[in-house]
Amino acid sequence: MPTPDTATHRSALIGVPGRAARRLWSAYGGYALGFVSLFLIWQWASLYLVSSVLFPPPTIVFRKALVLVRNGVLLEHLSASLQRILAGFIAGSLLGVPIGLAMGSFRPVRKLLEPYTEFLRFIPSVAMITVAVIWFGIGEASKIFLIIYTTIFIVILNTAAGVSAIAPNKIRAAQSLGATRTQIFFHVALPATVPYILTGMRLAMANSFTTIVAAELIAANDGLGKMLWDGRLFMLVDEIFVSLVTLGLLGFVTDRMFRWSIYTFAGKYSPAT
């Protein structure tokens, strides 16, 4: 059994880098392994299980991606899609949060607006592509409209649910401490709802990816969806796969960034208590 002395001695020998590596491993090791195994299985399945040009292995897809990155094509499509998502997502959230707060706080407002939200949220944004293109053309306006449409109802519903989930004692305590109605709204209701708002935005972000690809498949001059469609038209299977992998990675990275910023800037708004 090592005495405390030998234990310190040994960790001094290994040194700080060893400990840092271990911490890095416990934080990201599983992730790294998961991704590596994903690509290994894909490679194996493509080469030995399917062995068809219609299912290229990751090595070929990455080589193709490198070519498309070098000539700027991939970046062009990626930034087109990303810009549409961000513009619509931000606008949809900015509209959805106040509407959700109003619906959660005031019964008459909820009664008045529920027919809109409960009716419209069941019309999938993919179905709205048709009218969006008729109304706004195949340019940016129709895409941003569709992303707003995708975002706004999820954000409204989550925000309103957050307001009604506030513990009554939080409001009562504020009343007994002398808070006015306005103060209760800004000092209690709003901060207590923040975790719900952020959850709604995160879900909306994920749905925006579905909508943008569908919209670009049908009517667009650029974007990752357009890239998929062109790949199908001209039988460029490698390009289809580059687009698919890019979508997966983009979604993964944006979701991680969103989670990270919630943790960093809004960690204290945890749903507990």
Partner: protein, 260 residues
């Protein structure tokens, strides 16, 4: 001089099926300025209903409640409430930010409110914990934040709704001792709701014993003529315990029989 008077107060709740339930009826009591008044009763007797009506969260269906001679019409900062659970704390604020919440509402300057909040945090034994969030603190510490929060707001009266009921036995008796000391130092009027005879005799200057619900009212008031530190093993303490116990025993039996 009485600060609060309940004058023939009744409260009827209507269930979703439209059935009326009379929680309290003909409830009358007086609470003197600076006294520690315990309201003791079996569970379901309407103790919390009485507190909610005085706090202004709910209106009585009959009779009236006077505070300083004026009828209670709503919540106000003259009557601060310490709740039973910890869901009234603001999880996004640190301990000290929770304590200075009332001062911030009144736009007290930052330096002054920090200083006052710190004073009350130390008074409840939370010095050094001020930067922690409620989720990082134990149940007893959270109740201390609640107590510091109401004290920092300097109300005329404290309404405490079984504040220690959820704590373990050791923490509870420690908190009772500290609350007794705080009350000795501040002499704020307190209405303390409890179902625990021991707690009532430990803390109360007067104990109002309630009947079993429904249509509950005050059965009788026991004046506890004990000063300073009260020891559970003292003869006088046991005499009061026995007196209250005998008043409440039948009520507890009734309330259990009705629940079956």
């Amino acid at each position: 001089m009485s600060l609060v008077s309940f004058d023939d107060v009744g409260k009827t709740y209507r269930s979703l099926q439209g059935v009326d339930y009379q929680a309290v009826e003909h409830f009358s009591a007086e609470i003197e300025v600076g006294e520690f008044f315990c309201l003791l009763g079996p569970s379901g007797c309407g103790k919390t209903t009485v507190l909610k009506m005085l706090a202004g969260f709910e209106a009585p269906t009959s009779g009236q409640i006077l505070m300083g001679g004026r009828p209670v019409t709503g919540a106000g900062r003259d009557r601060a409430v310490v709740f039973q659970g910890d869901d009234s704390l603001y999880g996004w604020l640190t301990a000290i930010e929770n304590v200075e919440f009332g001062l911030r509402l009144r736009h007290v300057g930052k330096a002054e409110r920090r200083q006052r909040a710190m004073h009350y945090l130390k008074l409840v034994g939370l010095g050094g914990q001020e930067q922690k969030y409620p989720a990082e603190l134990s149940g007893g510490m959270k109740q201390r934040i609640q107590i510091a929060r109401v004290l920092a707001n300097e109300p005329q009266m404290l309404l405490m709704d079984e504040p220690f009921a959820a704590l373990d036995a050791q923490t509870r008796s420690l908190m009772q001792l500290e609350l007794a000391n705080i009350w000795q130092a501040t002499r704020t009027t307190v209405l303390f709701i409890t179902h625990d005879i021991d707690e009532a005799v430990t803390l109360g200057k007067r104990i109002g014993v309630m009947e079993a619900g429904p249509r509950s009212r005050v059965k009788g008031v026991v004046e506890v003529a004990l000063d300073g530190a009260r020891r559970r093993t003292d003869d006088a303490f046991l005499r009061y315990y026995k007196q209250v116990y005998e008043m409440i025993r039948d009520e507890v039996a009734k309330s259990i029989a009705r629940a079956d």
